[in-house]
């Protein structure tokens, strides 16, 4: 459904996308993952016909987006990075305009508005001015706009940006549901998010693809170890030494006030760690897994050293 071949985009002298190629098959949900400035938005803007590539080709639904853009755009639902909303109209009249803009038959618009309002849980806000909606609800209106014409392909640029965790979960669930009927390309810079909703990821960095694989296989591309972060009340160096002796632990380091232990992904040494600490008479204040941050992944995939490793703690 989406085919990108040697796509390159220069902004003036600046190379934003450097000859990337990838495919998205019908019915797939693919994540475009990359840190800030990687070229995700640029790629999506070319795919949606907003911009022309400097060289290379992009096809959506068998339409070349440089030469047959108008036809291609009919098959696309697009949520840009900045949600494209008119603030001085109601949700209803906005969706009405968006539907007509996308060439939806006028006599079907009313039904479709009802449908997308239900899908995106906007029932209570249908006659509210968009300017009065919170960021999370604006995001939902943005998604509603992208699906109103029942597009075959959906392109969503960071759909969970700037919304609270509960709504993030809802949005992800929504995307998963939509993915049953649509082909979806979604961009993100959060690895766990992509791994939750996507079948496959394409990781880009500085305009180039550094990895592309199914989620299950990604961990083997990566170093195959996970980190656990512990906060222990006890003598630091003694704790470090004790933790090192716990079975399955490959490495322990101390980053004030945490001990970070590493172990292979297929093991869960948490109960062993806990027992060791308690038996030594110390107190375990907290324990959690540390997700490998995107920066760590790039560090690993690109072998570069210039990322700072601020890790993301989950749970």
């Amino acid at each position: 459904m989406i085919r990108v071949e040697n796509l390159t985009k220069y902004y003036g002298e600046h190379l934003a996308v450097d000859s990337i190629s990838f495919n998205v098959k019908k019915g797939e949900i693919v994540g475009l993952l990359g840190p800030n400035g990687a070229g995700k938005t640029t790629t999506m803007r070319i795919l949606t016909g907003f911009m022309m590539p400097t060289s290379g080709d992009a096809w959506v639904a068998e339409c070349n987006m440089a030469t047959n853009s108008l036809e291609g755009r009919r098959h696309i639902g697009y949520l840009p990075e900045a949600i494209p909303l008119y603030t001085d109209v109601t949700v209803r009249s906005y969706l009405d305009f968006a539907g007509r803009l996308r060439g939806l038959d006028p006599y079907r618009i009313k039904d479709r508005i009802d449908d997308v309002v239900e899908i995106c849980h906007l029932e209570d806000y249908i006659d509210v001015l968009i300017g009065k909606l919170s960021r999370g609800f604006r995001q939902r209106v943005g998604v509603a706009q992208a699906i109103i014409h029942e597009p075959e392909v959906m392109i969503l640029d960071e759909p969970t940006l700037g919304i609270d965790p509960i709504q993030v979960t809802q949005t992800r669930r929504l995307i998963k549901e939509l993915g049953q009927e649509h082909t979806i390309l979604i961009s993100s810079h959060i690895l766990p998010e992509v791994s939750m909703v996507c079948d496959r990821v394409v990781i880009i960095h500085e305009g180039q693809i550094v990895a592309e694989d199914r989620i299950e296989n990604l961990s083997t591309i990566l170093k195959g170890s996970q980190s656990i972060r512990l906060e222990v009340r006890g003598p630091t160096s003694a704790v470090t030494r004790r933790l090192q002796r716990v079975q399955g632990i490959s490495q322990v380091r101390y980053e004030k006030p945490y001990h970070i232990v590493e172990c292979p992904v297929d093991q869960d040494p948490r109960s062993n760690l806990m027992t060791a600490i308690v038996q030594s008479g110390w107190t375990l204040l907290s324990m959690g897994t540390v997700d490998m941050s995107l920066e760590d992944i790039f560090l690993q995939l690109t072998g570069e050293e210039d990322f700072d490793d601020d890790e993301e703690l989950e749970e």
Partner: protein, 239 residues
């Protein structure tokens, strides 16, 4: 056509729902009304015409208001991010540009229509000559349309509405005043300046004569700037 009308209607509606547009329309009416009255008082009510707002001041007010109406057309969409919505919808750039032009033209024509009550007053209290009034309004319509097209172009080169208004105002002022300069200079060079000037072509409409050359001139400038707007959008897709 359907798409053009969709955009035109949306633009026209968004003027009608914005308080700013009502302020603009009111100030416009007050200014045109004042020009109208001052002229009648100046001539001791001997000349029952609308010449009050067909002179330079009337033209400048019209051009200024057209520039202000047009400044938001594209710049605002860029700022809101809705530009990306329009340019990724299955619409030709031409349809977007024409729609926006027609929507703003609708607003400007509505504003001009409200001033029709000045000639109506003349009818009630005197015996005005209908010909110059009709051609005068034709002239105002054409000058307004041209100014909107120039304003639309200015709006397409920036995402800042104020910048758009200033750029449009600058271009309009140059296109207008080179005519006055041309008349002052005289000779071949002066003629050329007059030939491309808004000012020189507008004066034809005040006398009650329908000057086809002037009509063609205004329509050409309008078409030229609509074309430039389309090109400017196209260029932005490639840059």
């Amino acid at each position: 056509m359907k798409n053009t009308m969709l955009i035109a209607l949306k633009e026209f509606k968004s003027y009608l729902t914005s308080p700013m547009a009502y302020v603009i329309a009111c100030v416009f009416l007050v200014l045109y009304g004042s020009l109208f009255i001052w002229y009648l008082e100046d001539t001791q009510y001997s000349d029952t015409s609308i010449n009050g707002y067909l002179d330079i001041w009337g033209n400048l007010v019209l051009m200024l208001f057209a520039a202000v109406l047009a400044m938001r057309l594209i710049a605002e969409e860029k700022k809101l991010g809705t530009w990306e919505l329009l340019l990724t919808a299955p619409l030709r750039d031409t349809e977007v540009v024409l729609g926006k032009f027609l929507g703003s033209l609708g607003m400007l024509v509505s504003m001009l229509a409200l001033t029709l009550y000045f000639p109506l007053l003349l009818r009630v209290f005197g015996i005005p000559d209908g010909g110059p009034i009709l051609t005068g309004y034709l002239g105002l319509f054409l000058l307004g349309a041209t100014s909107l097209a120039i304003g639309l172009f200015a709006s397409s080169v920036t995402s800042n509405q104020i910048v758009a208004a200033v750029v449009a105002g600058g271009m309009l002022a140059i296109l207008y005043f080179i005519g006055i300069a041309g008349d002052a200079i005289g000779g071949a060079a002066g003629n050329i300046l007059s030939y491309i000037s808004l000012y020189s072509h507008f004066s034809a409409f005040v006398t009650g004569i329908i000057d086809t050359r002037a009509i063609i001139y205004f329509l050409s400038i309008t078409a030229l700037f609509l074309f430039l707007t389309i090109r400017s959008i196209e260029t932005s897709r490639w840059s």
